[in-house]
């Protein structure tokens, strides 16, 4: 695996799990590492082998990032997505949190107001009072939660719908453009090919005329034959020139179309990636995913263990015939 392949694989593994800035920074670090290794006249393959499997490295980077996130609160990654729906959802959440805080503060205040008249002698008294309040709060909270979930899902739905619609529009536009482009290039190609075929046919006709000019010269007189001969020779010269021009155009066209094709291919690829990133929304907390990956990788390990266990049993088998032969001797 060379530098490019290694970095690409690493990037692919990190995509959607860390923010764009983080990934760029990581890419820079590992690119620097490869460059330093190259300077020590090491092969890319060697450096990549020492670094270890990019998937494992990516997993570690994600884990470390999650670990760090558990110790210190990092604000939600704003660099990842900057579409209005996400922003609206965030502000809504913020407002809701503020309201809840304010509400809680008010409730505590009212508790505090209620407590003083009963004097500090009866300390356990305020407790039974608090409980019914919490009970009355519960349905309110459930409703709020329901409302929150509903609005979140509506936000998601609208976002998804918008992305899907815009991707369909974009894809259709690009498909039309591609179709027009392909038909145009086919048309030009056909014209050039017909031109080339015409030139060849003309050249053959003129060659036939050279032979004919001998017959004409014998029948009608030398001058007519000579003029026909020179005329057809000049015609062949012009025809060859024209054919060369068409050939040149054809070559240019091929070169140009190949370049354009490569570019449109890149455009399509990028568009598809974009659409994919729109429609397949990344799950935010990386910790959950790494946990899931760990649990997923565990069965693999347990699955590989029986294989390992089975190996020593199978290896003695080939030696047995040899032993038997020895015994027979």
């Amino acid at each position: 695996m060379n530098k490019q392949e290694y970095l690409e694989k690493l990037e692919a593994c990190l995509k959607h799990k860390l923010s764009r800035e983080e990934i760029e920074d990581i890419m820079r670090d590992y690119a620097e590492y490869f460059e330093e290794g190259r300077r020590q006249s090491k092969q890319d393959v060697e450096i990549a082998a020492k670094l270890g499997d990019p998937e494992l490295v990516a997993q570690q980077l994600i884990e470390e990032s999650a670990e760090q996130g558990a110790e210190h609160y990092i604000p939600p990654r704003s660099g990842e997505k900057k579409n209005p729906w996400e922003a609206a959802k965030e502000t809504f959440k913020d407002l809701e949190n503020r309201f809840l805080e304010w509400d809680r503060g008010k409730a505590e205040k009212s508790d505090a107001e209620a407590a003083p008249p009963e004097q500090p002698e009866e300390a356990p008294q305020p407790k039974p009072e608090k409980e019914p309040k919490q009970k009355t709060k519960k349905p309110h909270n459930a409703l709020q939660k329901l409302w929150k979930r509903f609005s979140c899902s509506m936000g998601h739905l609208c976002q998804w719908w918008f992305c899907a619609l815009s991707s369909v529009v974009l894809m259709t536009a690009l498909s039309c453009l591609s179709a027009v482009w392909i038909s145009l290039s086919a048309f030009v190609l056909a014209v050039l090919l017909v031109g080339l075929a015409g030139a060849v046919a003309l050249a053959l006709g003129l060659l036939a005329m050279i032979i004919l000019s001998g017959v004409v010269g014998w029948g009608l007189g030398t001058w007519a034959g000579a003029s026909m001969l020179f005329g057809s020779l000049a015609g062949i010269g012009l025809d060859v020139l024209a054919a060369m021009l068409v050939w040149f155009l054809l070559k240019r066209w091929k070169l140009w179309t190949a370049r354009a094709y490569r570019k449109t291919k890149g455009l399509w690829k990028r568009l598809l990636h974009k659409v994919e990133s729109w429609l397949v929304t990344p799950r935010e907390p990386a910790a959950q995913e790494t946990q899931a990956e760990q649990t997923a990788s565990q069965p693999e390990q347990t699955a590989s263990q029986p294989e390992l266990m089975a190996l020593p049993q199978t290896t003695p088998v080939p030696t047995e015939p040899a032993e038997r032969e020895e015994e027979q001797r």
Binding site: I26, E32, G37, K50, L51, G52, L56, E64, E67, E71
Partner: protein, 106 residues
């Protein structure tokens, strides 16, 4: 060796190396690699976390050959953290050694 345990030790080694002088990624990896066999890819994740926890600050320095190098410089916070890690390590290794010696004597 337990990977989690190993990671902790390598973290301490990285801190100890950078305490002495500012170093860049490749240099750090090679300095550790000449002492012990390590998976070189694991050093960068640790470096990133320690930087995020503000034990290091990084700066780019132009190199005469090739691209700029990212250097890691230890902060006061990092120094404090390393101090506590070192103390813990001394206590821990003493305890382990005592137990190991005890086992040999018995």
């Amino acid at each position: 060796m337990n990977t989690q345990f190993r990671k902790g030790i390598i973290e301490m080694c990285i801190l100890a190396l950078i305490e002495r002088k500012d170093m860049y990624g490749y240099e750090i990896v090679q300095s550790i690699a000449c002492y012990t066999e390590i998976n070189e890819g694991t050093v960068y994740p640790i470096l990133r976390r320690l930087t995020q926890e503000e034990y290091f600050v990084t700066y780019l320095k132009e190199s005469t050959v090739g691209p700029a190098r990212k250097y890691y410089h230890m902060t006061e916070k990092g120094r404090g953290y390393l101090g506590s890690l070192k103390d813990d390590w001394q206590d821990f290794s003493k305890m382990v050694n005592d137990i190991l010696r005890g086992e040999v004597v018995e």
